[in-house]
Amino acid sequence: MSALILTLFVSGGLVFMAIIGLVSAFSRGDHEHGDRLRALPLDDDNP
């Protein structure tokens, strides 16, 4: 049980940090990193 909670906690942290990193890159116009966001349905303006 504790292993499951730990896994969820760590992966949650990683996802959260990944989003921060990608959003930051995209907003800076860093397309090498930021373009990865296009794969995610986060950006309605760019179909």
Binding site: V10, G13, M17, G21, S24, R36
Partner: protein, 855 residues
């Protein structure tokens, strides 16, 4: 030549301290409450025939808890008290109790412990040999230990046989604590770095914060988790023999420093990778520690061995005292019980116990009837009081026949008393100047015991690796000298991380662990890790005969069984009733043979007199039975039964019983291309006969071997290629020089202390047949480690090339390093496996011929 008269216990025949009459009943004296209670039960239930069946199983061996055990026990009690104070619960302590072998032991231990001061309740688990105590304030482990020692049971700390073991456990606990902190912080560093890998700028406000968090977390990981490696590296450099700790310690410190410099230049850095690297290394080290701990459990008490044995000395004042073997001086009188070792060269004395036999109602082995003495007289059975004592030199010389010695005879150290009456001897030399002491002299310090994977080529590899890693990092710095400083440092840090020796930090200890588990499944206990480096080189195997290839007791020869079957049913029955009352090896063999012929005892009146070295004389329901040496051939035993004036007789030959699995073991060794020899202290003829049974040709048999002859054979065959299996002290010289030594698990615990492996489960033959697996698994392990080395080298060449070309990003380093470690770990498990018992699957000896011989 005689001794002061020592009274003996009416039940177990152990000498009673003079003046100690606290346990008496009528005119009978007992050594302890247990014996008194047991005798009362026997008397009350009318079980007088208990004596006719051989009496009590003999005195219990001398047991005294040593100071180390008592100190550890006190610690355990202290911990239990503080736990109970914290939790406000009853204080419970669990201790190990040695020698609980029957229901009466269990009953006695519980009663004695329960009555010990400060013990509220005592519950024994006979299966595990543990005693759970509910203790109150007045409890003192020394008092409990004393009480249980007096009835022949030794108390030890639960689950740990010595303080050394406790300290190893503490070391493993310390590693676990460090691993816990490192894992948590490594994950924190990984989470903090993740946004940077995916695009967050290191110059960003959050970027700097996250980078700082990762840096601090990984610094703590390096300090806490890396400390054992730094300490190990410093120690190994001081010894002048660098281990893999050195490249690990240097690599992690250098990688963290390079990451710090890179972060100051605004580069994306590898703090999290360093933290994960240290954590993985620490996990590997913990596995290795656990492995060492298990070896230690089997290695305990290797230092005291025979020299730490305690024996009963009869002092000038007539007092009986326990002394250690090294404290025995010339002229000391020792009282030895059946089964005990004669610890120094000595002279056999006329024993006070003999007088006890004559004067007392409590006979020794001279068994009288439950009817009356007149029967004996009427049947012309000689009077008791034989002064000879039966001693076995099997352990010392490999000679399978026991000897009867008369008072005044010299006894060499290393003989075992097998006479049920025990023996009293006078020491003629101190232990240190005996041949036994020389034979058992330590083989030297086994410094590699703490590092199962630190032997062989590893010290060399460690040196090369450090130089190589720095050379590669330096090359990267030269190639990228003109790049921005941040980029340059990123590349150098990445190169330092990927060149760290993950493969051997984690996969190698796990491979060794797996090999150990595999052998255990086959009944082979690996005691010493040096086995792994030596067994893969084995090309010759030498077996001792007596007690190794053969069982300790003889069996009736197949041809002689027909002679026994030719006796009439009544004669067979009388013979069985007679031999059933003797503990002599040949009597027991006759008993087993008669029982297997479905002979049933039907006698009601039995009188048997045994004279050591002379044989048995019995009167069974009017039949007169004589079992003794055959006058025509001293090697045979003559049995004759006279019923109503008609005498039937048969000559019985005895053969040594082959240990189950011995033949299979040797066949498998031959099939594996290993040359098998038999070296015995027994006569050449007997050795050759037995060798033929297991398929060893006569030109590979040595008889009448002195210990040095066996050692010479090992040298002649090339000691680094020789595996020996033996059990006697006459094998000790051979053990001292051979590459790998094994013993069948027996009841003589002195030689196992210097063996590399133990063969268990000898009764079903399973383990003995597994000798070949020791070599096979060791070769597999050697191959697996070589395979890991090859894969790791290829991986390193690939990633170093990428790093030098600047293609290695911090994210790639972070993913590659742990995934590579896990892959190698899986590979190690896949490669180390048991070979199938068929011949073809066995790895060829030539494969290991090219590998390096361990230093």
């Amino acid at each position: 030549m005689s001794t002061p008269s020592i009274p003996v216990c009416a039940h177990c025949h152990l000498a009673v301290l003079p003046g100690d009459d606290s346990h008496t009943e009528g005119d009978r004296l007992f050594c302890c409450a247990g014996c008194l209670a047991a005798r009362r039960v026997i008397d009350q239930l009318g079980l007088g025939r208990f004596d006719a069946m051989g009496g009590a199983p003999g005195p219990v061996a001398a047991v005294v808890a040593d100071d180390a055990d008592l100190a550890a026990l006190s610690d355990a009690v202290g911990r239990a008290r503080s736990t109970s104070a914290l939790t406000n619960s009853a204080c419970r302590v669990t201790v190990d109790v040695d020698g609980v072998s029957c229901a009466s032991c269990a009953w006695l231990v519980e009663k004695v412990a329960g009555k010990s001061a400060g013990v509220d309740n005592a519950v024994l688990n006979p299966a595990r040999g543990t005693l759970e105590l509910l203790i109150a304030d007045g409890f003192d482990p020394a008092v409990l230990s004393e009480a249980l020692s007096s009835v022949g049971h030794r108390v030890r700390p639960a689950g740990a046989s010595s303080v050394a073991l406790a300290s190893s456990t503490a070391a493993a606990d310390d590693l676990l604590f460090r691993l816990g902190i490192s894992s948590a912080l490594a994950m924190a560093a990984m989470i903090a770095s993740f946004s940077l890998f995916l695009g967050l700028s290191p110059d960003d406000r959050f970027g700097r914060l996250f980078q700082g968090l990762a840096g601090v977390s990984s610094l703590i990981v390096v300090l806490v988790g890396g400390w054992p490696f730094v300490r190990g590296a410093v120690a190994s450099v001081r010894r002048g023999a660098p281990t893999m700790d050195l490249p690990i310690a240097v690599g992690m410190v250098a990688a963290w420093t390079a990451s710090l410099l890179a972060s100051r230049e605004g580069a994306i850095v590898s703090f999290d990778t360093v933290a994960i690297f240290v954590t993985l290394m620490l996990a590997g080290r913990l596995v290795e520690r656990r492995l060492v701990l298990r070896h230690r459990q089997l290695l305990t008490r290797r230092d005291d061995e025979v020299a730490g044995l305690r024996v009963r000395r009869i002092d000038a004042d007539g007092q009986l005292r326990f002394v250690t073997v090294k404290d025995i001086g010339i002229g000391d009188t020792l009282h030895l019980a059946r089964g005990e070792l004669v610890p120094t060269d000595a002279t056999l004395l006329a024993d006070a116990a003999d007088r006890a036999v004559k004067n007392d109602t409590n006979e020794g082995v001279t068994v009288k009837s439950d009817t009356d003495d007149d029967v004996a007289a009427n049947n012309g059975i000689p009077a008791a009081g034989d002064q000879g004592r039966l001693l076995s030199f099997a352990w010392l010389t490999g000679e399978s026949q026991p000897h009867t010695l008369l008072p005044g005879a010299a006894v060499v150290a290393g003989a075992h008393v097998i006479d049920p009456r025990g023996a009293v001897v006078q020491a003629t030399s101190p232990f240190s100047s005996t041949r036994l002491s020389q034979l058992l002299a330590d083989r030297g310090h086994d410094t590699d015991v703490d590092r199962p994977v630190a032997s062989g080529i590893f010290p060399w590899l460690a040196r090369v690796w450090v130089v190589g890693a720095f050379a590669v990092a330096g090359l990267g710095a030269i190639l990228w000298w003109n790049a921005p400083t941040a980029r340059l440092l990123e590349i150098v840090a990445g190169l330092l991380v990927v060149t760290c020796p993950c493969a051997f930090g984690i996969a190698a200890p796990l491979a060794v662990e797996r090999a150990t588990v595999l052998l255990r499944q086959r009944g082979v206990f690996v005691r010493h890790p040096r086995l792994w480096w030596r067994a893969s080189q084995v090309r010759h195997a030498i077996f001792d005969k007596t007690g190794t290839l053969t069982e300790d007791e003889p069996v009736v020869d197949a041809g002689s069984r027909a002679g026994l079957m030719g006796l009439s049913a009544r004669a067979q029955s009388a013979l069985l009733a007679t031999v059933a009352r003797s503990n002599h090896g040949r009597s027991r063999a006759l008993l087993r043979a008669l029982q297997s012929m479905a002979t049933a005892p039907s006698a009601t009146t039995v009188v048997v007199v045994e004279q050591a070295g002379q044989g048995l004389t019995g009167a069974v329901d009017g039949a007169r039975v004589v079992v003794g040496r055959d006058d025509a051939d001293a090697g045979l035993t003559r049995v004759s039964v006279t019923i109503d004036g008609v005498t039937e007789s048969a000559s019985v030959a005895f053969a040594e019983a082959l240990r189950p699995g011995a033949k299979a073991a040797i066949a498998r060794l031959h099939a594996a291309g290993i040359d098998v020899w038999v070296a015995s202290g027994d006569s050449l003829a007997r050795a050759v006969d037995l060798a033929a049974l297991v398929g060893v040709p006569a030109d590979h048999v040595l008889g009448e071997c002195q210990p040095d002859d066996k050692a010479a054979l090992v040298h002649r065959l090339g000691k680094e290629h020789v595996l020996v299996v033996g059990d006697g002290v006459n094998d000790a010289a051979m053990f001292a020089v051979a590459a790998v030594c094994g013993v069948p698990a027996t009841d003589r615990p002195h030689l196992p202390a210097r063996a590399d492996f133990l063969l268990l489960g000898s009764t079903d033959g399973g383990a003995f047949g597994s000798v070949v697996d020791v070599v096979a698994v060791a070769r597999r392990l050697h191959q697996a480690l070589t395979g890991l080395l090859v894969v790791a080298t290829i991986y390193n060449i690939a990633v170093i090339s990428m790093g030098l070309m600047g293609l290695l990003t911090p994210l790639m380093v972070a993913l590659l390093m742990p995934s590579m470690s896990v892959s190698l770990l899986l590979l190690a498990f896949a490669l180390v496996r048991l070979p199938k018992p068929s011949v073809t699957s066995f790895p060829s000896p030539s494969l290991s011929a090219t590998t390096e011989v361990p230093a």
